[in-house]
Subunit: 621 residues, 2 copies
Amino acid sequence: MKIALAQLNYHIGNFEGNLQKMLDAAAEARRLGADLICFGELATCGYPPRDFLEFDDFIRRSDASVDKLREASRDIAIVVGSPTRNPVVEGKDLHNSAFFLSEGRIVGIQHKTLLPTYDIFDEYRYFEPATEFHTFQFKGKKIALSICEDIWNVGNENPLYKICPLDEMMDERPDFILNLSASPFDYTHAALRIHTVKANVQRYGVPMFYANHVGAQTDVIFDGGSLVVSPDCKVFDEMPYFEECLRVYDLDEVVRGGREAEQPKDKIRLIHDALVEGIREYFHKLGFKKAILGLSGGIDSAVTTVLAVKALGKDNVRVLLLPSQFSTGHSVDDARDLAENLGIQYDIVPIKSVYEAFEGALQPFFKDLPFNVTEENIQARVRGTLLMALSNKFGNILLNTTNKSEMSVGYGTLYGDLCGGLAVLADVYKTEVYALAGYINECYAALERPNPSPHGEGSRFELGAAPLPLGGGVGGGASTSGTTTPPQSNSLSAPLPEYSGVGGGASTGAVISHQPLRGGGLIPLNSITKPPSAELRPGQKDTDSLPPYELLDRLLYQYIECRQGPRELEAQGFDHDLVARVLRLVNMSEFKREQAAPVLRVSPKAFGMGRRMPIEAKYLS
Amino acid sequence: MKIALAQLNYHIGNFEGNLQKMLDAAAEARRLGADLICFGELATCGYPPRDFLEFDDFIRRSDASVDKLREASRDIAIVVGSPTRNPVVEGKDLHNSAFFLSEGRIVGIQHKTLLPTYDIFDEYRYFEPATEFHTFQFKGKKIALSICEDIWNVGNENPLYKICPLDEMMDERPDFILNLSASPFDYTHAALRIHTVKANVQRYGVPMFYANHVGAQTDVIFDGGSLVVSPDCKVFDEMPYFEECLRVYDLDEVVRGGREAEQPKDKIRLIHDALVEGIREYFHKLGFKKAILGLSGGIDSAVTTVLAVKALGKDNVRVLLLPSQFSTGHSVDDARDLAENLGIQYDIVPIKSVYEAFEGALQPFFKDLPFNVTEENIQARVRGTLLMALSNKFGNILLNTTNKSEMSVGYGTLYGDLCGGLAVLADVYKTEVYALAGYINECYAALERPNPSPHGEGSRFELGAAPLPLGGGVGGGASTSGTTTPPQSNSLSAPLPEYSGVGGGASTGAVISHQPLRGGGLIPLNSITKPPSAELRPGQKDTDSLPPYELLDRLLYQYIECRQGPRELEAQGFDHDLVARVLRLVNMSEFKREQAAPVLRVSPKAFGMGRRMPIEAKYLS
């Protein structure tokens, strides 16, 4: 038997588009000799559909797509995820289901059993879990269908759940397992996924074929990495990350196994590629092409600009340099150098005249009150308004450049530098941004030397669609498969690795840990080495208000990703006053994050739907 | 036996404050002769605590509060809600529990069974449901404990649930039922709550004592309205809305019944009072006193200002009049009239000079391109920045004045008129804002005539703490108890009443349906009668871009509150093109709502946590 896995980029609510994509894939799989093709979880409607699931019309359209796929199943069996109505009065209105379609008929339906209701997931808001478990006969084989989370409770070892759906099916002795997933990316996830699929294969002794989504839905990024694991617990195949893919496997070959096809997993490279995909997808799915952003000469906007150029192409990225009277001369130089390195349109718009107009309008109120954060915020808001004006006039989406460290402690101006349609770096700590900058400079330098760009029209560095070479020496971290202590579960209490923003766990200096930061990198060396500053008053530095980022980031990671409280943090050696101060800053800044742009999720705990906090609580604040 | 109900205003994470409040109430109840006092759901930590529940430290502190209450239970039994750890490995880490404390001991714990996981509720994200059900012996009586949602599945008629926890306890023949609630306000809820408590009492034949929270936690408002329903299914007592309250009841008297103490429920008055509470609480719990807002001369900012003055006092509300070259002369006059009527500080800050500075800075880019929405947005953002500058300099929180109709269709400028810490009217449709204005003018006129304010220091209308008389002729709507068709459940499919923003279901003209809109009202007549306009270009009217509000609001209500799709809306008689256009506007505006301020929730379906929608979907958009 030949089995096709389709790793596709679905679009929420785009029923026609998703259907056509699946019909095309089914036709192609048939042409390649496949007997069966497996798509992802909720593939008809896209994932996560959220409260659209509460609309009858949305379910009717999902049903209509299933019906078209049923018609198309006359010469290839189709396995596809779609919401279905729960015919039982009691319980939630819907099931999250997998259809087995063959010979123009619905052969059977298996509902999802384990419904993730944590972090970004709200599945029990909509779905009733399965209580019946069947396998499906097809061409002399028995097939067990599972949906995403269903395989994440291996032998009931995940403390979140009370039932292991595959255990329930094993009486029927299936020949292989299909899993339809919509399993979002974070930099730990690809390794966890392989570990989990292998654990299932080891338990049941049959191969598993695992089909994931790829693409992104605003904040939620899917990396693909669909898997075939053979009964010898080897990765027979792992599909590429961040690309659509269709492949056909011969079941007998998979059963024989002996192949090890796992891809390398470098934390910083994965984050880089995920962010590029997140930007590209946001624009593509909204029907926009062009981005704008403010380039300050600092590292955050520099990295964001490079990622945007990689995602959208240099002709679709425009930057404004918006110096104030407090900007240092080299800031404009560094920003201009980067823009010229990238070959993108840049303009310099000093904000002094507008800022002074605000000063004049406010003079009757402010009189001789001293300059303070108010005036700093006005500068940030003038910049935000100028960027939004060009965004509105020319149809560019404004990209936000805030990093996760700043977003955590509220070091940013609402309606100012927090403006933007998409927060590209707001799940990337500052020390990780440095690592990204190092990775970018190494990769693009490597790209430039051996293989000069064929399209170098006025640009020293061309960021085309060519895959980047894997950077050496950067990242590593805890997610490298095979060297990780496998977590016991994906529950709230699953242990996370130590924080390692810049690779080695013991490293303290983000910059000095990177070797090849030559002056001639894509991102100017000065943007990387100078002390971070908002440049909103004379001589300002981030460290005037915040602890050094190497320390801050380690503490934030323990509080945000690992949910450690004050007692545990002090037991880890963090200073009592520092803990109190930082936790207070984080908790007091909830009102800013409430109004922030959607954050591209690359970590196991990103701001947004995955982290739900009261705004006006009085707890550690 | 004497039973005290405590309707208290808890504060999330303020363990010391919540504990002291409960200890004080217990002492007072004891002084009043009570044998037992009942507090609300999760009273130790406040509701909704959201992801703070994932921190061990948060649970430890809840435990510590319970321990202090246990010590205080030597001379009065205490029933209190608090999170507890689930000792079973499998399932969620916590229970949502009610403690029965007496004679210094934990007599027992009953966990919550029905865990709302819809709309604003995420309880299955954190809690494992109860599987054991006990009653508690106390002074010769048997008591059944239930927590909030536990009573909302009367005899298993709620299709959301499969178990009725009180049914499980009835074998033990309890003498009465206690319910610990944290049941948020919406304008339908007080009537539903009474209906539901009565249905339980009718089914079990024993009285129920129901203790609710009061106060608000940012967007989520609690109205109180705690209840005692006697076995004859009469409302023996209903505590006041929007006030803390402690009352002691004699069980024998309650069993005798015969009293009917239900309060009137007028939709517009309830919304008015809820919004006032929401504003007051937001400031109080954040530790702020002073508000600022922009007063345009239109109805939304006028109503918001009145509500803010009512909530915070006239000395704590400051307004800016921010005319542009497109503002009509009467706009400034109307705004000034209202400010003078209210006796609040107002300043006029023309935005022309700042706007022109932006024009100058942008001229090299915009050249001769025609004036469009870009320039409209710049004006709104200049206003937002000026308001935020005063907010920052003087510590006033900016209140947002956007209404629900605008918020639905995206008729507003991000970082401009969408600025603000709290969106006061963003769950109130425009036609309901008119009704609120009418209600305000009637009430305050009534207040002014028979009983001139004793504190009228330079103000014609004093908005003190005195309760307002109930406005006649306004509102009514579907939530008036006794005249409503009782909904079958609180599930997603529970039927909602027809839309009646201005009272009578058949009314079409918001303004003309109100009788006594005299020129001398608190809110100037002109603000109410003139056609709504953003005044961002010459002669602009809202109806240039939007359908008339009477039509728009009816359609939005069916789509947002009632979740009707295009097919159903057309079947209701809405025009095909109008449906397509409005639904597209709503779905395309998700990115704006994502960055909007928290919305005071007064309807059964508010923007925010209760309505979770994808941003870049392609569905009806």
